[in-house]
């Protein structure tokens, strides 16, 4: 490393400084300004997302001649039927409930398995096996979500769920939830592993020296010490599950209903947006605009969760650095 530093530094010395001090300051300054504006772009993006969503949502709530649309009825309404019948209903709760149901199933599938795998990777696995497992997880993480959706529709439902019980329809919350769980598994796993590996080795040594088994060390020292990182990992993974679109659009169905029954079909917030943007509704119509209100709700939920996740994560980084 030192040799590299020396070589690079010597390179620089050789070239010398070709321009005058003023030129140099100008050059450095303009590069800095350019990079600064790139950085600002991220802030602009956030602002733009919020403005677009807020503007269109405002348009939805102030639309003329639709007494059924009000902020209050939107957030507490228990019926969502924008495309059906003469009297459309815009209560977002069934969509939120659908999202929650799928996310809960995904969490039940992915969080324990992900944490166990992370413990195995960080505490047990020999270096070679670890490399292989990380590669497998990386591939799983890269599989397009539409593939998981297809898998849920053509494998999980007909070959895993329907043999168990014939109450499962072709579209159901369970298959979508399992597929979303598989999708977030690599995220849970790699973030949890980062958190566990950040726990200093000296704590493990201390616990082993007291006669702990590997289980004691993992469950009573390492996981509690890395807990905030693990929680942050869970939050970030669940955020991904909430925002997941293609899996639920393919496998969960298209009927918005307020239910906790995993065999039933549900519509999530994202699936509704897909339905609208695929062109089932005329643009500028009330149904079309309603998708923006749904998107805004979704954005607020995920933004809030990632924000908490990032705060927790920062706290745990501060603990050990």
């Amino acid at each position: 490393m030192i040799a590299v530093a020396a070589r690079n530094a010597a390179d620089i010395a050789e070239r010398g400084t070709p321009c005058s001090l003023r030129m140099r300051a100008w050059f450095e300054g303009s590069i800095k300004a350019l990079l600064w504006s790139l950085t600002c772009f991220t802030v602009v993006t956030t602002a733009a997302i919020i403005s677009v969503l807020a503007y269109e949502t405002y348009g939805f709530f102030t639309i003329q001649n639709h007494p059924e649309v009000s902020v209050w009825s939107f957030f507490v309404g228990t019926e969502w039927s924008p495309l059906l019948g003469a009297q459309p209903m815009f209560g977002v709760l069934p969509l939120v409930a659908g999202t929650l149901l799928v996310t809960t199933i995904a969490g039940i599938v992915a969080l324990p398995i992900g944490l166990m795998t992370a413990v195995y990777l960080s505490e047990y696995a020999p270096a070679r096996r670890r490399t292989v497992l990380k590669a497998v997880l990386e591939i799983l993480a890269g599989v397009p979500t539409v593939v998981y959706g297809f898998f849920a529709l053509t494998f999980i439902t007909p070959y895993l769920l329907q043999p168990l019980s014939n109450s499962f329809g072709a579209y159901n919350a369970m298959s979508a939830g399992i597929a979303v769980g598989i999708m977030i598994l690599p995220i849970v796993c790699s973030l949890c592993e980062d958190a566990l590996r950040a726990v200093p080795q000296s704590l493990r040594d201390g616990a082993y020296a007291l006669g702990s088994t590997k289980f004691d060390v993992s469950a009573k020292v390492v996981v509690p010490a890395g807990l905030s990182g693990v929680i942050a990992a869970f939050l970030l993974a669940l955020t991904r599950a909430i925002g997941e679109t293609m899996i639920v659009a393919l496998a969960a169905g298209g009927l918005a209903q307020l239910t906790a029954n995993p065999t039933a079909q549900v519509q999530t917030m994202t699936a509704y947006m897909v339905q609208i943007f695929l062109g089932d509704a005329p643009a500028a119509g009330i149904e079309y605009k309603s998708s923006y209100a749904v998107a805004f709700t979704l954005f607020l939920i995920t933004f809030f969760l990632t924000w908490i996740g990032a705060l927790v994560l920062r706290r745990y980084r501060e603990e050990y650095e």
């Binding site: 450095e28 800095k32 166990m116």
Partner: protein, 312 residues
């Protein structure tokens, strides 16, 4: 007392053992799932993969359908996405890691970036629909103004409409936060001693970055970029929002061409009730997974090369 302790010890050892088996089971599930996924899709789709499949356009008759348009669409969109997102991501990371001082504002920007990485991709689609496809409604699609003529490669019109360019920019929005975070970690892992060595020899801050930090961080950045791009290749939701083209019968010829991408084509076929189309979807997935495996192997090889000098 000894026997009591012996029992307690053996119980603890048993617990230890069970825990290991639990962890192993958890780990095997991940591998098992990957295998089942690959095998079930391979069985369903293998028979449909052929040169004809790669070289034909979509069709209402399953036997004649192919993925030429989505395949080329994916290539165009991803190239544009990479050209935009990778330099922007690296630039932002450089500013945050090398220039920005620790301050409240930097912390807020950092928090904002991690929040952006958690925003569902479909929401980026909505932003892109407003910003790139419609230019916030500044000019309506009827009276758009343009540069170049529609036959040429660099033909542009404003607003972009649901074009390849808009698609690429949309994906760039989606992966930009991932790209920034990966590059930042790469810069953070460059030892401070390298920078100080160069500074001590009288290099300017930009010279340090350009000649020391960036070369040292580049392999890690490229690994991150490949993984970010593998995310971009698989994205369907935001492109569905901006375009909604599910049937395209030509390959893109310039930045303003209509397009579809592989994941959208898969979604289209998977959503149909007929089994023949499911076979096509599986075949398209196989193609997609091969591309993905190529990307992942590239990342793994790159990382391997990267680790070697540290071992010697």
């Amino acid at each position: 007392m000894m026997s009591g302790r012996a029992i307690a010890t053996s119980r603890r050892l048993l617990k230890n053992r069970l825990f290991l088996y639990g962890c192993l089971a958890g780990t095997s599930i991940a591998i098992l799932v990957l295998c089942v996924l690959m095998i079930s899709i391979a069985i369903e789709g293998w028979s449909s993969v052929s040169w004809h499949f790669l070289d034909s356009f979509a069709s209402r008759k399953p036997a004649q359908a192919g993925i030429k348009a989505p395949l080329m669409g994916s290539v165009w969109v991803c190239v544009i996405c990479a050209l935009v997102a990778i330099p922007m991501g690296i630039g932002t990371a450089i500013y945050l890691e090398e220039f920005a001082k620790h301050s409240r504002i930097k912390r807020l920007i950092q928090l904002n970036i991690s929040n952006l990485s958690g925003v569902p991709s479909i929401v980026y689609g909505i932003l892109a629909l407003a910003a790139f496809v419609r230019f916030f409604g500044i000019s309506s699609s009827d009276d758009h103004w343009s540069i170049g003529d529609s036959e040429s490669f660099f033909y542009l019109h404003f607003p972009f409409g649901p074009s390849v360019l808009a698609g690429g920019l949309t994906l760039a929005l989606v992966i930009l936060p991932i790209m920034i975070i990966a590059s930042q970690e790469a810069f953070r892992s460059v030892p401070q001693s390298l920078r100080q060595g160069a500074l001590a020899l009288g290099s300017t801050q930009w010279q340090v970055i350009w000649r020391v930090s960036l070369p040292a961080a580049l392999p890690t950045i490229m690994t991150g970029a490949i993984l970010a791009m593998s995310r971009a290749i698989g994205e369907a939701a935001p492109l569905l929002v901006i375009g909604g083209f599910l049937l395209v019968f030509h390959t893109p010829t310039n930045l303003m061409s209509d397009f579809t991408v592989l994941p959208l084509q898969i979604f289209n076929w998977a959503g149909r009730p007929q089994g023949e189309f499911h076979k096509l979807a599986a075949a398209a997935i196989l193609v997609q997974l091969v591309v993905l495996l190529v990307f992942n192997s590239a990342a793994i090889i790159l990382r391997h090369k990267l680790q070697k000098p540290l071992q010697s």
